[in-house]
Amino acid sequence: MASSSTSSSSGVPAERRGIPAASFVEDVQTYLTQLGFDANSALAFLQERLQQYRIVEMKLLAQQRDLQAKIPDIEKCLDIVSTIQAKKGSGEKLIADFEVSEGIYSRARIEDSGSVCLWLGANVMLEYSCEEANELLKKNLENAKASLEVLIADLQFLRDQVTVTQVTTARVYNWDVHQRRIKQAS
């Protein structure tokens, strides 16, 4: 795919994790000549780019939603583990009401075992001591938060490229209108 290298824009990577950067156009005339496009082909090319960006945006937004749901879940787990740890010292049993099925609750007496079972996914559940469980959950939480940060940065980069492409589209269009007016006048 042809991409103009006229941009003197500093500090913008040519692509980020598979997302191509939209090169900034200094001068529309030069841009069109370099690419060998006329205005209409350029506009079509830019529109196609925009479509591709939108598809990637959908994907990233879905990933972001997943992560944003995962983080409070991990925090709830950490809460429970710390509650169990707190009870451990006191020797009392933790009494809790839990949902057996939708709308049906039962009472549980959680003994002072000092360990919990963690669901690791893929039908696997392992028993951990409270301290180990804390470690694991905290690490998972940090990883999730770090992934979310990277994802948000990706989305910002992507949206910038969309903006640049939209502005370039408008400028090519304006340039074309301008050219037609000049031709008509002469």
Binding site: S7, S8, S9, F24, E26, D27, K76, C77, D79, I80, T83, L94, I95, A96, D97, F98, E99, Y105, A108, Q156, R159, D160, T163, V164, Q166, V167, A170, R171, Y173, N174, V177, H178, R181
Partner: protein, 128 residues
């Protein structure tokens, strides 16, 4: 949200202008995210207030306090202190979000001045 009208006028767009436009776009996105987050934070605050009030009205010694998916039986004082802490954290969070919102709005207002100053009618930075 923003479009340049095809007036055919030849105001040149520099890289700096593009950066400003990009920044405005980012700020606008953040602004909408913040509005949603603030709404959720306010609802959270209210729920905690309601819970607190219910607790005062009730005269049970053992209260069922939700942790994760279960309702743990806890002595009343413990629940009171937990609620207090949660309420404090929630208001701090809300305050932080409101402050960020103010900052974002201020930056957007500044950028609007700069961009409208250069492009006047050729650019539209309003919500449609």
């Amino acid at each position: 949200m923003q479009q340049q009208k095809g007036s055919g006028s030849e105001v040149e767009v520099t890289w700096e202008d593009q950066l400003n436009i990009n920044k405005f776009g980012r700020l606008n996105n953040r602004f909408h995210e913040l509005e949603d987050e603030i709404k959720i934070a306010k609802e959270n605050n209210e729920s905690l207030e309601d819970a607190s009030n219910e607790l005062i009205l009730s005269d049970e010694d053992i209260v069922r306090f939700q942790i994760g998916e279960i309702f743990a039986h806890m002595p009343r004082e413990q629940v009171e202190s937990k609620l207090e802490i949660m309420k404090q954290n929630s208001s701090k969070e809300l305050e932080k979000l409101e402050e960020e919102k103010e900052s974002v709005l201020a930056q957007m207002a500044h950028l609007k001045k700069v961009l409208y100053g250069k492009f006047k009618d050729s650019i539209n930075l309003e919500e449609d």
